[in-house]
């Protein structure tokens, strides 16, 4: 059908005809939009029916409830003691009161509007044609030819020199535009004399060349007798800021093994295949990096009975009497061992930095 409006059907009416009702004019609009109203009927028997009045009362009540709780929200927001105090105080109820009052207010408003739409307005069933057909072949052809014409006008095809020049001219400019955006972010992770990936706070370099003491979180050094057999302690490099996130790869677990476990652990460390853990234990003490070799969480759950360290993030488990080799979970690499000794004042020191790389694995790790 070819008419002015797309696919419109039916006979047009003169909208200026004074005899038309408002609904007649609406229907003319629907006709022009290709919509047919199949049913449109009130949900009630007649005007002012009992059922309608009841429904209007219910909806009004919902609006009033909404207003009441909205007001309650406002009042509580202003007068209820809101400042947090430790212990059981009235301020503990501030957030729940806000939630309940605002929640009920908004929910009642929502239900009121929904009930108004669903219960009061007439039921209707309308059909609109989709007109989802693609453009006609003529239209497609014309648009396609227009685009080709634009390309012809530019004449890039006919002028190969221009084509080459554009490619050579634009590419560097494009890269130049991207470079300052990306370039500022790029940092060479291997540039420093002590590359960050292979270097922790226990490296004597951080301490002016002197051996680094093991210390508690508050910075105090540790003597062997501070830990009982089977005990463990998280230790940090004894340098300024050693326990802060600046040295996020340095936290270490210092464990005092029982005699028989220590013998097993020492045998394993001395028999280490690549020899890195040889001589790293001191007495019955062994220290492993706390940073999991899988994803970098602190592998901090120490199971004394089974001599395992468990990382709570992904449940990698390490055997502390066997060079902290992984025995379960997604980790592939053992936890690095910190070589221990005790200085002349009787405090623990690291004789060098970790010999294995600390932290999650990566492509170029040696």
């Amino acid at each position: 059908m070819t008419t002015l409006h797309h696919g419109e059907t039916g006979t047009p009416v003169d909208v200026h005809d004074p005899k038309l009702t408002r609904f007649d004019i609406v229907k003319e609009g629907l006709r022009r939009d290709d919509i047919e109203i199949v049913t449109y009927e009130s949900q009630f028997q007649g005007p002012n029916s009992k059922a309608e009045k009841r429904m209007v009362r219910s909806i009004s009540l919902l609006f009033l409830i909404s207003g009441l709780f909205g007001l309650a929200f406002l009042v509580f927001y202003i007068v209820w003691p809101w400042k947090f105090e430790m212990g059981e105080t009235r301020s503990d109820y501030y957030t729940p009161i806000l939630g309940v009052s605002l929640g009920i207010s908004l929910f009642a408003l929502g239900i009121a509007i929904l009930a108004w739409a669903k219960k009061l307005l007439p039921h209707e069933l309308s059909i609109q044609q989709r007109h989802g057909d693609p453009s006609s072949d003529d239209e497609r052809l014309i648009t396609g030819q227009t685009m080709m014409y634009v390309a012809d006008e530019l004449g890039v095809q006919r002028r190969p020199l221009l084509k080459g020049a554009i490619a050579l001219g634009m590419a560097p400019l494009g890269l130049a535009a991207a470079a300052p955006l990306v370039g500022g972010l790029i940092q060479n992770p291997h540039r420093d004399a002590e590359p960050m990936m292979y270097h922790t706070g226990f490296d004597p370099v951080t301490n002016g060349g002197k051996l680094v003491r093991l210390s508690r979180e508050d910075g105090s050094p540790i003597r062997p007798e501070d830990i009982s057999a089977g005990g463990q302690l998280t230790v940090y490099p004894g340098i300024p800021g050693g326990a802060t996130n600046k040295y996020a790869d340095s936290p270490t677990l210092l464990i005092r093994l029982r005699d028989d476990d220590a013998a097993t652990a020492r045998a394993a460390a001395e028999g280490d295949k690549n020899g890195r853990n040889k001589g790293s234990m001191w007495g019955n003490f062994v220290a492993y990096s706390k940073i999991c070799t899988h994803a970098g969480c602190p592998a901090s759950l120490y199971e004394q009975q089974t001599n395992r360290l468990l990382c709570p993030c992904h449940q990698s488990q390490f055997n502390i009497v066997d060079n902290a080799q992984p025995i379960f979970g997604p980790a592939t690499r053992r936890l690095p061992m910190l070589p221990l000794s005790v200085d002349d004042e009787g405090f623990f020191v690291a004789t060098s930095d970790f010999k294995d790389t600390v932290g999650p694995d990566f492509w170029e790790r040696p």
């Binding site: 609009g29 949900q43 400042k83 947090f84 105090e85 430790m86 501030y94 957030t95 806000l98 939630g99 605002l102 929640g103 009920i104 207010s105 908004l106 929910f107 009642a108 929502g110 009121a112 009930a115 739409a117 669903k118 307005l121 209707e124 069933l125 309308s126 059909i127 609109q128 989709r130 989802g132 972010l185 790029i186 940092q187 992770p189 960050m196 990936m197 326990a243 802060t244 996130n245 790869d249 899988h294 994803a295 970098g296 969480c297 602190p298 901090s300 468990l310 709570p312 993030c313 449940q315 992984p326 379960f328 979970g329 997604p330 592939t332 690499r333 999650p360 694995d361 990566f362 492509w363």
Partner: protein, 533 residues
Amino acid sequence: MKRRKLDPAEATANFAKGVDDRFQAATPLRGLLNKVFPDHWSFLLGEIALFSFIVLLLSGVFLTLFFDPSMQEVAYDGSYLALRGTEMSSAYASSLHLSFEVRGGLFMRQMHHWAALLFMASIVVHMARVFFTGAFRKPREINWVIGVLLFLLGFFAGFTGYSLPDDGLSGTGLRIASAIMLSLPVIGTWLSAAIFGGEYPGELIIGRFYIAHVLLIPGILLALISVHLGIVFKQKHTQWPGPMRTNENVVGERMFPRYAMKQGGFFMAVFGVIAFMAGMFQINPIWNFGPYRAAEVSSASQPDWYVMFMDGLVRLMPNWQIYFGNYSLPPLFWPAVVGLGALFTLPMAYPWLEARKLKDTRSHHLLQRPRDNPERVGIGMMALAFFLVATLSGGNDVIADKFHISLNAMTWAGRIGLLILPPLAYYISVRICLGLQQHDREVLAHGVETGIIKRLPNGQFVEIHQPLGPVDEHGHPIPLEYRGWVVPKKMNKIGALAPAVKGFFYPVEKPAEAPVSPAPITSSKREEISSKR
């Protein structure tokens, strides 16, 4: 001089004329007022996501007024005594300040978090609806792709968001994110150094995540949501098959007033539920986690639920490291990089893969009941089973703890479940779909079981069936064609009995609408069922 009386009706008309003179608005506005929308409860799931997003924008703006995205170390001196004097980042201190010393601040923070969880949940449910009913088919493939992108962006919005408070839990998440970057071959260390501004954690990441979380990601989200809705509007909504409904029309109600009012009411109801949850249910109590310390973590460190599937996959991955001479590929790479990539690209490609397999080039505006495409349902259930096992494995330490199961057993159960359950879900759901199809055809051929048992003269018992359509001269029903819509299977669905419970699930005014496939039952009078023979 006498002033002319202002006639409000005339003033409005003049204003409308003025608008139309300038913008030619009358015709398009009428089209908008008259636009017909089909209605079904399942079409509202996406709206929950939209409404949650609006709540996210509103509450998020409030939070920015108090949050300080800085990693400067300060000593806490706020009213939460348990942490007083503790060294922490300004970001964490300002989050605590927001929770304790800003009037209604905790309420807004919890509203933001709950709205985010609801946003992601409604996206998942909405995507399941679109997938299982075939609403992604031509011409709506692009909108499906945008939907998948919205989930991906929501994932990153959520991750950057819960990293911001810089508490113990979010720092752990950042640590794992850094490890995932490091696991990339060749560029891993460079990427991590670029994003963290050097070695993890550095002092820049909170500021960078902040701008991503409050500007870049929401900007893209807003743009994509606008396009998503614009395409729905342009292509018109899909509809279920049914009487009068064809592939060429839309059967429903006009946008104004009823449909728009229902939308507005639904928004307020969703908003109300979020507000209620924000007040009543604690979420992310950051003061319990303490500031982030590289050496500290507690068990049961779970990310938000929509990130848990990835954490679960990382937990289940065996420790298979691949070595290339001096270089190596950590196992973390497979679940976190390849897995996440595949989980987003495969769904994006699905509409074209299915169309190619079915050699289907037509446009579809009528939805399919899931049972009518068993293979699609099977694939969808397979994906959901995979997601479910992965998500549960993300909390397998909590399950192991609460149910006293060995942690290693949970890991192995997850590993085996991840391989076994998806194919099983595929098989079972395909069989269920085929069974439902068969039952539909059976009822269409023989009629509805009445529950009336008749004894024949030869002693045989038969059940009487109520034909749904005309019968032949012997009284046998003429088999009806399946029309892709609900087939009534019980006598009270075709008007034998009124609904038993009136009021809540069924409208009080009128009995439940009779499903109308294959033909509407027009008789309003109810007849007693009797054996006609």
